[in-house]
Symmetry: C2
Subunit: 224 residues, 2 copies
């Protein structure tokens, strides 16, 4: 939605590509069957430019613009939901983002993974990283579910333009390094019996990003 830190080219930054619900904002029904008076959020959302518009909200997603110690930037995307194409058109153009280096998935619901198809189209055209297969970090369960819907995203050594799946271990005790950034998975409850992940990262500034949560397990709440 907005870049909150690091206008300088020598700093890292967080770009909130979306902060909306699964169906996004505006809600179609607010526009097509407006209340009286009309809902101000939805009615204004189509007429205001993206950079001045807090009311056009795509699926929750964060782009980490990670500036390494050598000054090189890596672009780490958390979640790639149903509205990914809209988010690229609105924010990648505005912030002049030219590629994605890797993806972290919080869980396998449509608002977190259904843009994988569009992302791979971009990848084939060279927009997503320079490697032939983009690393996507997810739990085994998340990967299995995504592959049941997108079987053509299965890793294949003989096929370019697909996904290099990286499994996040289920005990969640170890950090992993994604495009140079050390990341700790933060298991949280999303609904009663469904575990989703948040992610903890950053050295100068410590950031915990938890996008879809109903309850924090004590091990996550009390942890580092």
């Amino acid at each position: 939605m907005a870049k909150v830190d690091g206008a300088s080219e020598e700093q890292s930054a967080l770009i909130f590509l979306g902060t909306g619900c699964s169906g996004g904002v505006p809600k179609a029904q607010c526009l097509i069957r407006p209340s009286n008076p009309p809902c101000p959020v939805c009615s204004q959302s189509l007429s205001v430019k993206p950079e001045h518009n807090p009311n056009y909200r795509c699926n929750t997603s964060l782009l980490i613009d990670y500036c390494q110690t050598n000054g090189d930037h890596n672009y780490i995307l958390i979640d790639v939901g149903k509205t990914f194409r809209e988010q690229v058109l609105r924010w990648f153009t505005y912030y002049k983002i030219r590629r994605v280096d890797c993806v972290l998935l919080t869980h396998e619901h449509a608002d977190a993974v259904h843009g994988l198809d569009d992302m791979c189209s971009m990848q084939q055209s060279g927009l997503v990283n320079d490697a032939s297969q983009i690393p996507v970090y997810a739990t085994q369960e998340c990967m299995d579910s995504a592959l049941s819907r997108f079987p053509y995203l299965r890793k294949s050594e003989h096929k370019q333009g697909r996904v290099d799946w990286k499994i996040i271990e289920e005990n969640f005790e170890k950090p992993f390094v994604a495009s140079g950034l050390q990341v700790y998975p933060l298991p949280v409850m999303h609904g009663e019996d469904y575990v989703a992940l948040g992610f903890l990262f950053g050295n100068k500034c410590r950031v915990a990003y938890v996008s879809d949560v109903s309850q924090f397990p004590s091990t996550t709440e009390d942890g580092e």
Copy 2:
């Protein structure tokens, strides 16, 4: 993309909700890594209002605004692809379309069915027809494939807001009636060994809509 017939409330009309490729137009890479000079199609597509903009093309989809003999209108949607939400925001608002009565699917690729999730969210909020389950016409193969990706769209008599799947028989010899409109399925080749459907409909004007085709089998080409 545009309404080509029937501005009158007493006429039927065709509204082309999308005429673009699977990834849609504009292409992200044209905007983020522009050529010199920039591609005029993509560079203009974000700054022009929908109704004056032939260069913002969503997934191929047709909305039939069918005016019956008693003057009542039914809204029959052919395909509900990845960009369905954008199409609702751009065209349902412009043409004041308040609902969809039924859906016909040409095939099960992402650019034809991946908007089902968003469509059902609209349905739950009362935007898509008044019945509790929206009729979706598809071949058995198309339905099975869609359900493998969206298992929560399985028909259930105990659950509102889902899909009432109507199977189009594989011999394609019989027409069916969808929201009052008689429709003939037109099998066509989409690639070498993949059958997709077009649809033939209309009494005053005979319309054949074939959106994704590489070759016409002689039985379809020579038929009615």
